[in-house]
Symmetry: C2
Subunit: 347 residues, 2 copies
DNA sequence: TAATTGAGGCCCGTCTTTAGT
DNA sequence: CACTAAAGACGGGCCTCAATT
C-alpha cells in the first residue's frame, strides 16, 4: 500500500488521509472506524485510534454532509431570541442538541414572513437534520411550509400551521383557564390583557382559556382594549393600554377586581400602570401573569403566575427531530405540556 | 457541449449541473456567476440567472465550504443564552450576520472550561469564518485559545484573555464609577454588590469602578459579603446576601445609605431583600443597577441604572470578524463601548 | 490578441466493489 | 469461503488552464 504524503500536511488541517498514513491503513478503513466499527480488527482499531489522538483528527463535517446529503445541524428559527421564553427554549434546545452530537444554527424571523421564508430556504440548503420553527403569525408561508415538510423534518415550537404537523407547546388554554379560575375562586372578577399579535396561536389560546373560565362562572369576558400593532415591547404595550383602560372607568362599572395578563412581561407593565393610576397592584387590583420569569418572584408585589415548562418544550422538540432522523418514523409528534400555578402576593 | 441529464434531477436537490444544463453552459460558468461575474457576457448571465430562478437553485454550502476550506458560518460561544445580556448580544450578532450573508451557530459553555474547549474544537472543525467568544472565567483554556487564535479569527465579547486579542465590551469600570459618583453626588454613601463569578472581567471591572469613585470621594469601599459559588440565579443570590447583610447591621454602623449592584438582576433581588427586611428600596436605601433591562423602567420603584449598548457590542463583534475575513487585516480590534446613566426613582 | 467559456483535477469524506490472506 | 482491508467512484462545488471565437 502506497500512501503519498498529503500535500496539505504542513499547512492545512489534518485529514483522514493523514490519519490513514499514520496508522498504516487506507482512508476507507479510517472511515469505517468513524462509522461502523464492526469488522475491524482490534489491532487496526487501536492503531487508528492512536493516530487520531496524536493528530487531533476530527472529520470535516462539510465533507461528511456533502457526501451524506444531510448535516448534523439543527436549524432553529424563532421570532426573536432576546425574549425570555425563546431564550430559554433555545438554551434547552442547544443543550439537548449537544448531548445528541448535533449543532444548532439559529435564525430570527422577527415575525416577518419574508425573513421566515428566507431562513427556511437557508436551512434547506444547509441540509439540516431538522428544523425547529416558531412560525410567524401570518399564514403567508403556509404553502411553502407544506412543501418543505415533504423533504425535511419540521417541528413547530409554540406554534403550528395545520393539524397534522409536529408541534410542541404549552397547553395555553388550560393554563390561562387555571389562572382565571384561581382568581374567580378568590372572589375576583378578572379582566384580560392579551399579548400583541406577534405570535400564534398562544395568545389566542390564552384568551380562549380566559373566556372558558369566565363562561363557566357565568360571566361575560372583559378585555382590555389594545392595539393590534405588532410589538415586542410588552411592558410598554401593557403600561399604555392598562393606563388608558383604567382611566376609561368601564372596568369599575363592570365590577372588575383583577387583571389576568397573557405574559409576565405584560403583568409588569400592568402593575406599573396601576401604580401610575394610583392603585396598589395586588391590593386594589389583583394581577396575574403567565410564564414565571426568573424575576417574577422578586417583583413588588411578587407576581402570581403560571410556570410553563419551557425547557421540557425545547427538549421535546429536539427529541421529536431525533426520533425520525435515522428511522423512517413519520408518526406526527404532537405534544402539549402543562405546568403549574405559582400563587404569590399579586393576587 | 454534451451535458448528460443529472441522475439526481428527479430525486435529489438541484445542483449546479442542472443549472448549467438548463442554461446551456458549463458548470464552470455557473460557478463564475456566483463568484466573480466579471467576464461573463450579459447574455450568458441572463440565461444562468433565469435557470437559477426557475430551478430555485442555491449552491450547496457544504460543497463550497469543503473546497474553500472556510464556511460562511460564525461560531458564537456564550456562557448561557437565556440571560438578558447574552440574549440581546446574540440577537444583534444574528441580525448583523444575516446582513453579511453569514449564518450563526451557537454553543453555550455554561462557564465550564471543558465545554468551552469542546465548543471551540467544534468551531474549528466547522471551519467557521470566525468565532465570537465570551470566555469562561477560568484561565484553563488560555493555551488552547492562543493556539487557535493563530488559525482562526476570535473576537472576545465582554471578555478577553490577553492584551493583544480582539475584544468588544462595555467600559465597565467607567460605567460603574459613573453610577457610584451619581449616588455620591446625591449625598449617599453606597455599598457594592457584585455578580457571582460566572464572568470575567466585567464584574471585576465594575467593582474597580465602584472602588475608584469611592476613593475619589475619600471613602473606603464597602462590599456586601457574598458567596463565590458560581450561579446564574442572580436574583436569589442578591436576595440572600443582601438580606444577610442588612441583618448583620454593619451597613448601619458604616453609614451606608445606598447599594450599587453589578447588574439589574442583582438590584431586583436586592430590592426584594430590602422589603423583606422592612426597608423601602429607593427611600430607606437607594439602589442602582447596571444594564437597563426592558423591565427595569417598570419596576417598583423604577430602577436607576446604566444602559450599556449591547446591540452595538454585538454588531461590533461581527464587524471585527468581517474586517479580517477577506483581507489579511490582522490589526487587533479592541473596542470599549460606553452607554448612559438612566436616572429613575430607585436612587 | 482579447474576451469568454469549457474541461478536468481537487477538496475530504462515504460507500460499494474488489482483492488479499 | 470467511474476514479484513484497499481501490476507486462519487457528492457538489471552485479553480487553473486550455480551447474557441
Amino acid at each position: 500500500m502506497k500512501i503519498a504524503p498529503n500535500a496539505n500536511a504542513a499547512r492545512g488541517p489534518v485529514t483522514m488521509h493523514d490519519v490513514a498514513a499514520r496508522a498504516g491503513v487506507s482512508r476507507a478503513t479510517v472511515s469505517k472506524y468513524f462509522n461502523d466499527r464492526e469488522g475491524l480488527k482490534a489491532d487496526t482499531l487501536a492503531r487508528i485510534e492512536q493516530a487520531c489522538r496524536e493528530l487531533e483528527y476530527v472529520p470535516d463535517p462539510h465533507a461528511v454532509s456533502l457526501v451524506r446529503g444531510r448535516s448534523r445541524m439543527v436549524g432553529v428559527i424563532l421570532p426573536v431570541v432576546n425574549e425570555p421564553f425563546f431564550a430559554e427554549a433555545l438554551r434547552a434546545i442547544e443543550a439537548k442538541a449537544k448531548s445528541l452530537g448535533m449543532d444548532v444554527i439559529i435564525q430570527c424571523s422577527y415575525n416577518d414572513p419574508a425573513e421566515e421564508a428566507a431562513a427556511l430556504m437557508t436551512m434547506r440548503s444547509m441540509k439540516v437534520a431538522g428544523v425547529i420553527l416558531t412560525a410567524v403569525a401570518s399564514t403567508e408561508n403556509r404553502a411553502l411550509l407544506l412543501r418543505l415538510e415533504q423533504e425535511m423534518r419540521i417541528v413547530y415550537l409554540d406554534s403550528y400551521v395545520h393539524e397534522d404537523c409536529n408541534y410542541v407547546m404549552n397547553d395555553n388554554r388550560q393554563s390561562m383557564a387555571m389562572l382565571t379560575r384561581y382568581l374567580l375562586g378568590r372572589g375576583h372578577v378578572p379582566a384580560f390583557l392579551g399579548a400583541p399579535p406577534v405570535a400564534h396561536p398562544s395568545p389566542q389560546e390564552r384568551l380562549a382559556g380566559y373566556t372558558d373560565a369566565m363562561a363557566e362562572a357565568g360571566l361575560a369576558p372583559h378585555l382590555v382594549p389594545a392595539s393590534t400593532q405588532p410589538s415586542w415591547d410588552f411592558e410598554a404595550f401593557a403600561f399604555q393600554h392598562v393606563l388608558d383602560w383604567l382611566a376609561g372607568g368601564a372596568w369599575k362599572r363592570a365590577g372588575i377586581t383583577a387583571l389576568a395578563c397573557g405574559t409576565d412581561r405584560l403583568a409588569i407593565g400592568a402593575m406599573s400602570a396601576c401604580r401610575r393610576f394610583g392603585l396598589a397592584p395586588g391590593k386594589d387590583l389583583a394581577i396575574v401573569g403567565h410564564d414565571d420569569l426568573p424575576i417574577s418572584a422578586y417583583l413588588y408585589p411578587p407576581l402570581t403566575t403560571f410556570r410553563q415548562d419551557v425547557a421540557a418544550i425545547g427538549v421535546a422538540a429536539m427529541e421529536c427531530l431525533q426520533a425520525q432522523l435515522d428511522g423512517t418514523d413519520v408518526t406526527p409528534f404532537r405534544k402539549r405540556f402543562t405546568g403549574g400555578l405559582v400563587p404569590r402576593e399579586s393576587a
